[in-house]
Amino acid sequence: MRTVNITNADHHKTAVYPSPFHSRQEQHNQLKEWSRWSDYLSVPAYWCESLEYFSGRNTCGVFDITPMVKHLVTGPDALPYLNRLMTRDVSKLKPGRVGYSVWCNDNGQVIDDGTIFHLREGIYRVCSQEHQIDWFLTSATGFDVNIVEDTHDVAGLALQGPTSCAVLREMGLADVESLTPFGLDYFDFEGVELMVSRTGFTGDLGYELWIDPDHAELLWDRLFEAGSTRGIRAMGSDALEMLRIEAGFILAGVEFLPAMEAVRPTHTRSPFELGLGWLVSFDKGVFNGRKALLEEKKNGSRYHLVKLDIDGNKPAKDAFVFTRNGKYAGTVTSAMWSPSAKASIALASLEAPHGEPGEELEVEIYYQRELRWSRVMEPCRVVRDVFWNPPRRRQTPPADF
């Protein structure tokens, strides 16, 4: 059920709220540890981070995405408005399709990234990491558009991993296998509407399920019943973090500083500097940040966000990146030992001109063994491809596993 009501003056009595799936998360949460994601309680690990991670790569894992900030955009000018707001060309997003996008301030600096769901003709949902209603309304000047944040009215579950399609089919979602990547469709679930999108944050086969909060627990139960013979597991945020780094997905507050929060104005990033130039459509007309981005395209970017393949087996967390001559080149933003790529991998923000695929660099890794710290300079190289990109991610209809 709906668990957060921000209009209530008594809200201060609860610092963090249970999600609509809380009762079920509690049953699965053997470690009894909770973390926070915005207004909600989230689970870092239910049982074992590693085994939860592997559910996302071997069977399927369930992650509660209710806390994600959601907005509903409607009205006659919904499309022109979104095209003004977003860097990508939203007119190419047909009803029943989902698109990843970023949005910028006037200086072409990224405010946030998120997904645009074209729910039905002219009706859009925009999901984001940060609360955006102020900027969204600011950008709406002159548009006949209605924008509301409905974060707490929609419960969401991500079902990610190679058996996810088979589980949804088993749950009775007829023809769900015909959904193509970034497609969405509606299904009847116990008399209410269940929206399913073939989207996710893991770079693998996966779906996101969206339903009214009153049916959240029932959805969880049906999903786990259907998945009982296909290795379904509850998955915590620690596992998801591993999955998203392997997939090369960026995270607000980690790979970039949201422009609205930047005390130091030079610490922000443009889409180009995040490797998201493919999301910038100059030929669609005016959009927020267009002029500044055109300027940047002409004069060059300050930074490049890159993927690093690092020698050895030590995670390069928080490491500095140097040239082979020992000159400063940048810093690592996210790093891990990748159980699927079987390599030490990282995302790093490098100062231009560094960051061309194939460039040989070094990372400075500090690591501890039985309380003794050591340092190693590990050779690494900039790679073009993401670390995990299995064919099943794109295959339609997906296989059973």
């Binding site: 053997q30 049982w47 590693s50 071997n58 058996t163 290795g231 087996n313 079987k342 063994r369």
Partner: protein
């Protein structure tokens, strides 16, 4: 014009494929010959029954060197190793001892059997980890010859000596004892619970024709603990799609680098001309030529079955014949209609996901060994079984299961005579009777069963006498003693002949280290750039 290859590898098991892949990466034109219609040797997955996939021989993965995994891009070629959680040992009296994913749960579980043992396991884990750290550094190095004065051997000896000296006096003493002790004596120095000791002791004899009270078995426990999954030491996992996935990924890497694999053609003889290798003669009479032949076959099979005795010195041949390679285990692969109901584990389903052992104590394990010495399979066998399909959705249809059952002891011959088909069936019956005692109704779930005794392991994939490690893993056959002193650097007694199988250091298991180390030596002799990575040091 006949083709001459830069190298011919005999046997497309995982070590042969590893070897071939590194040679091909160095630009060599390599031919891989496999007598079976399928690749993989003992790292194989076959579809023998409907939609089931079996891991027919080896069944779990931990020893595979991560350096090899990475440098051969096995992840890119589709290999995924998925860890499974925990293990359990089931006792005859209905009790059990579990090893859980959560360390505190495990500690309390041990304390349930012996409060003291729960604390002692900290000391035990520390000492095992010390030995792991020592040996892991050596796995991707060629053992030095202690009698040699070559600079390379001397510097390698110095390296080993320094690593040992750095551990300090106490640990050096412990190490020397550790390599010669029995697993039974070793465990007695830590634990009192018979069930806990029984649960550890199995790792000291798996794949060995020794008993838990035989000297040298303590090391075999280390051989099972020195691997890791993603840095988690001692952890084991499933290769997704069965162990054949390991070989498939290696073969894809090999062929991608220009290697050629031919299956279904067995080698009759390795050809020697004027004291040098010149190629191989096939069973069908055809021949392939190369100055370099690499044998991934067992040590005895290479020299006793595939070479002319006239090409070898009699003293050498005698040592080959003396090589200890005795079969001790069997394998039963089962397609199940549903999940077995282990009485002891009702209400504790998570234990079924891991390794399940049937054993009570050291004494019961030793009695199982007595049967082997008497020339028959254990009437009360030690069983190490897993249900990979609970973790890996590719192994069986949903709700159905594949069960891998490793059984010890099983002799290569029955009282000196070859196994008969009837005896193989009887052996299979002994195994499922044993499981039925712990899981009533088990037999009714069986849809199909593959029973493999040492006879099948020898005949089907060439494991001499059915020994899964290509030779006993005792100190007299380890490191610079493996396979025999003077031949521990992957070079055979004839110029151009190399050995890359598990008969060579550092020994058996799906580790890929012998194959990689042999490739490094071959490339060195051919003055080609080295493509074999150095080991990662954990420092």
């Amino acid at each position: 014009m006949r083709t001459k290859y830069d190298a011919i590898v005999i046997g497309a098991g995982h070590n042969g494929l590893t070897n071939g892949a590194y040679l091909a990466k160095a630009g060599l034109n390599v031919l891989m010959l496999e007598q079976n219609d399928y690749i993989g040797g003992a790292s194989v997955s076959l579809d023998m029954y409907k939609d089931w996939t079996y891991s027919n021989c080896s069944y779990v993965c931990s020893l595979l060197r991560p350096e090899v995994y990475r440098s051969l891009d096995l992840a890119k070629y589709g290999l995924q190793v998925v860890p499974y959680g925990g293990s359990v040992t089931l006792a005859e009296n209905g009790d059990y001892i579990g090893n859980y994913v959560d360390p505190d749960v495990t500690r309390r579980e041990i304390a349930r059997h012996s409060h003291r043992d729960a604390d002692a396991s900290v000391r035990f884990d520390r000492d095992i980890m010390r030995q792991c750290r020592l040996i892991r550094k050596l796995l991707l190095r060629t053992p030095p010859d202690p009698t040699s004065f070559k600079p390379r051997d001397l510097s390698e000896l110095l390296y080993m000596g320094k690593e040992l000296m750095d551990l300090g006096e106490d640990v050096i003493y412990d190490t020397l004892r550790f390599y010669t002790m029995s697993i039974s004596d070793f465990l007695d120095e830590y634990f009192e619970s018979p069930l806990l000791k029984g649960s550890y002791a199995g790792s000291g004899i798996i794949g060995s024709a020794l008993g838990v009270m035989s000297p040298g078995t303590a090391y075999i426990l280390l051989h099972h603990a020195m691997g890791d999954v993603d840095g988690s030491m001692g952890a084991w996992g499933f290769a997704r799609g069965g162990m054949g996935a390991v070989a498939r990924a290696m073969n894809d890497c090999f062929t991608d680098h220009g290697g050629t694999t031919i299956t279904g053609e067995g080698v009759a003889q390795i050809i020697v001309k004027k004291g040098k290798i010149s190629g191989v003669a096939m069973k069908d009479g055809s021949e392939y030529y190369s100055d370099v032949v690499v044998s991934n076959m067992t040590f005895p099979r290479t020299f006793l079955e595939c070479m002319d005795a006239g090409d070898l010195k009699p003293g050498f041949l005698k040592k080959v014949r003396n090589f200890k390679i005795r079969g001790s285990s069997g394998k039963v692969n089962i397609a199940l209609d549903g999940l077995p109901d282990f009485v002891a584990l009702r209400g504790n389903e998570q234990m079924i996901y891991g390794d399940m052992h049937l054993i009570d104590s050291i004494a019961r394990l030793e009695r199982a060994y007595d049967d082997w010495k008497n020339g028959t399979w254990s009437q009360d066998p030690y069983i190490d079984m897993l249900i990979p399909s609970l973790t890996d959705p590719t192994m069986a249809p949903p709700g159905k299961h594949f069960m891998s059952v490793f059984v010890q002891y099983v002799p290569p011959k029955i009282r000196g005579k070859d196994w008969t088909d009837e005896q193989v069936t009887q052996f299979g019956q002994t195994v499922i009777d044993q499981i039925e005692k712990y899981a009533p109704g088990f037999k009714d779930l069986i849809l199909h069963m593959e029973v493999r005794t040492p006879r099948e392991l020898d005949n089907d994939i060439g494991l001499t006498e059915g020994n899964i490690f290509h030779g006993e893993l005792t100190l007299d056959q380890l490191a610079f003693n493996r396979p025999i002193p003077g031949y521990a650097q992957y070079r055979g007694p004839v110029k151009g002949l190399y050995m890359c199988g598990s008969s060579n250091p550092p020994g058996g298991g799906v580790m890929a280290a012998p194959g990689a180390n042999a490739a490094r030596e071959i490339l060195r002799d051919l003055r080609k750039p080295n493509t074999v990575p150095e080991g990662w040091l954990d420092d």
